[in-house]
Point group: C2
Chain length 608, copies 2
Amino acid sequence: MGLRATLDFLLYDWLEVQALNARPRFADHSRETFDAVLDTCERIAREKYAPFNRTVDTEEPRFDGEKVILPACTHAARLAYAESGMLGAAQDYDIGGMQLPYVLEAAANSFFAAASVSIGSNMLTSGNASALMAHGSALQKQVFALNEFNGRWAGTMCLSEPQAGSSLSDIATRATPDGAGAQDDALGPRFRLKGHKMWISSGDHELTENIVHLVLAKIPDAEGRLPPGVKGISLFIVPKHLVDTEGRLTGERNDVALAGLNHKLGWRGTTNTLLNFGEGRYPVRGAAGAIGYLVGAPGQGLQCMFHMMNEARIAIGMAATMLGLAGYYASLDYARERPQGRPTGAGGKDVTRPQVRIIDHADVRRMLLAQKSYGEGALALNLYCARLVDEQHTGQGEAADEARLLLEVLTPIAKSWPSEFCLEANSLAIQIHGGYGYTRDFQVEQYWRDNRLNMIHEGTHGIQAMDLLGRKVRMEGGRGLQLLAARIEAGIAAAAATPGLDAEAAALADALQQALGATDAAWATGEPGEALANAVPYMQALGHVVLAWMWLDVARAALRGDGAQPANAGRLAAARYFFRYELPRIGAWLKVVRERDLTCAEMDESGF
Amino acid sequence: MGLRATLDFLLYDWLEVQALNARPRFADHSRETFDAVLDTCERIAREKYAPFNRTVDTEEPRFDGEKVILPACTHAARLAYAESGMLGAAQDYDIGGMQLPYVLEAAANSFFAAASVSIGSNMLTSGNASALMAHGSALQKQVFALNEFNGRWAGTMCLSEPQAGSSLSDIATRATPDGAGAQDDALGPRFRLKGHKMWISSGDHELTENIVHLVLAKIPDAEGRLPPGVKGISLFIVPKHLVDTEGRLTGERNDVALAGLNHKLGWRGTTNTLLNFGEGRYPVRGAAGAIGYLVGAPGQGLQCMFHMMNEARIAIGMAATMLGLAGYYASLDYARERPQGRPTGAGGKDVTRPQVRIIDHADVRRMLLAQKSYGEGALALNLYCARLVDEQHTGQGEAADEARLLLEVLTPIAKSWPSEFCLEANSLAIQIHGGYGYTRDFQVEQYWRDNRLNMIHEGTHGIQAMDLLGRKVRMEGGRGLQLLAARIEAGIAAAAATPGLDAEAAALADALQQALGATDAAWATGEPGEALANAVPYMQALGHVVLAWMWLDVARAALRGDGAQPANAGRLAAARYFFRYELPRIGAWLKVVRERDLTCAEMDESGF
């Protein structure tokens, strides 16, 4: 099945997102308007993204000393995306938005990730602007957010620093009030920032007339000391070019300087930068430092930035998923056309017979079915989470609160699981192509390279796992995990009553109990050092349990349809594959969690 | 521990290779001569290989229309290797060889693979020449093999064709007798070859004055039909430049033309080519076709070529292993220096304390220990296999025959296991580096790219698995598998009597029984289609059992030494890691083998 058919099935037959139209916010929508958005995005991705995926890989961003040069296709792709209105898809009608449910926005954006994951960084722009809509002043929204949604300006998120990657409490960018009258600037309390920000995607380019940096920094106390920890972090708008209250460029370049481009293994379409703030490269208004406007209250910076974190992590999970599916489709096409070898068993040794297509080999089918189960399963999970975002924002009381809590638990998995297993899918796609897959004449090697980033950015695998086992499954007295278990049990009960899914239902019930038992065992001593030593294997296992639940539920939806239809038969096969080949893997992962195995943690460093 | 310390331990303390000196062939050797070879190779690798690993990645081979251009460092590295005498390391003294045991040759070559895996393809040259020593005429040895061993010429292996990658029975290169007197050529029966050969490493270059291609082709019958199957394949020497019986170039260019360079994901230091034989680009001696000399008897070509296959596959396993270890050492250095974050648990939340080095985080240790267990375990296996090669060639009666048989079973694992798990190790090395590991400023991303080839060349993972479960564990009435089991059981018995290893001994005994049971269950119906549907999971599982055996044996050797010494404590920790985190994975792999699960094999194609 192609991507569109899979999306249609998951959105309409499985999640029944058309029911969202009953809610006031989405009342003007219908399956027709949803489909129109999907059609538009599918077309733009096909015309403006897919043909240039290799171009942006080979023509890396370069700096000519003054400007960052990107290939023309990147400009064209950005323009087409901005003109589609997708930057503000979720926003209110009265500011030019579409009031689209988030699950539809996520589904529509998936076409771009599959076509060329790195050509644009539009998600950063809309995420940046959405954070301002939540936490900015009225004028900050008007001047900055709206000019991002309408595509005039682009946005970034400036968190990491060279000495503080995953450890945000250690950032050292310093923001001091910008002299007299600084508190009364209409654009917000005005500060001067000095510091270095690393890994900033789209940190510099000429795609838009301005770039709106959202920057985390610390405001020193009277003695000039930076407040320790994350509670001392504040959030600032730092535009590349200064603007007035009408959003017009004043002609003053702000002191944000490109210190270097990062040259990466993949994801090369997006400029990735080290930025210097306030180093004096572009002195502005007669004082030192880059000019920035405080967003929200001092010390609330991380909270404001994390407003977008669930969506950002789901977006990363979705990007990983789409790379996985792109490799699946490519290797499926190849396997259907490439003749090689003869079948195993009777007649297979008769070399006078013509060769068969490689899709006729069991091991190639295994590699295809693994990819399908990873990619479509991950897509189901990400859409499920996106649907929860809508529930959180537009649902009623308890349903909304449960959605919020479930999202807390599921988000680390929605981000990390596709990053790991859809990367594995890409490796299988290379393997199916044999030697050809190892050449740059085929796209699968690029998918694999591009996908390797997803286990790193927006919080590494290790960070996600600590978040999951250290915080999420324990928060609110463990209510989030209980809620997840209850949802999975409901799925098991429904499947147990469905002919043909009883064995899978029983397997999932057993797996869930293993995972819950391991959670308790991990924390039995209450020692974080013991519980979290195996946080990553825990996350892998709970991820597999969640994916099995997704597949069981998708299988049930497939059986509600015509089970003999090839697409549904394929979904049932992928579900069976997941239960037979994948779910049993949790045994090895949970064993070390349950036993609080400290082989690694306690190893003496001198022995490495 | 560094590579040299690990090699010394495995060679002398574990495998006790110094005992080989008691054999007549190696009588002139001693630990001193072995060490001298290791010293020399370590030095050349450090001086001529390592500094240029990135150079050969970025300055890919290119064709200027006449010649293939390679960077100067590649010429220098080849020269240094040739001058070291390593090309003929295993050969007799009387032809200028060193009569070095193969296990020492393999260990010495490991330095080059770790320093820059693709800068040279010397293994192909010595493999090519060794095949000629086994199957060529006296003059073919004198003219071709000796000029390869002495470094004057280079060699290739030309097997694959564009339409026949893994399926050699389908090759279509045609060899016809070269007119009158063809049978009587002093260099061997002379033929004219026409065809295309794909994936030919070092297929064209200016590193040496000549290139000796060993080419598989078919001799048509009287009606011009090519004999079907692998039994119709013959082997030919096709020099790039024709030579006389004294090994002097005659000045005639043979009709071997570069049709294209393959542009790959990694392993870019080695030219990889599509070659056209006899297409008329370089007409020679007034007739069509490239001139080639038959080696051995017609129809015996594959057998002659496969003479070198065990060694070639061990060499690939070793290359994968060394990339894995190179990544391990790089990420270990990084983890020891990079400060980031604070410890989990008590005091960890005190952000006024300085950050710790990332090696102090349990998850980083887990990723390091996984790499160590994969890399050093794979090194042990490859050296063990290399030692078996020596036993096969220089051992007595039964011992030699057992070595041969054990090698048959272990070779697919020695090739495939490091290719899969040391690739995973390289991914963990990237992960430890975080965002930096994803940039080209660090070497780990290149190791990962280079290593991806090893699951593909010299027989894909799928081909190795079919060989293992379809042929090797069943050959000679299953005697090879019984022999392997007996050796593992002997290791278990010895470990069971060793204080501190009893739990591991019991775990391996259980794992071995699971693997043996699954082998029987896979073949219970005698249907290859059922048995082989899950050949790859079988190979993964048996590979893990074999690696656990290696680690148990290495742990025993570590305990024979000073167990408190950091290096030995580290080996014991890696062994424990392997038993606790890795060995339990066989459960999921063997389940589908045992159940002869046909989910993949029987899936209808329309459902993908």
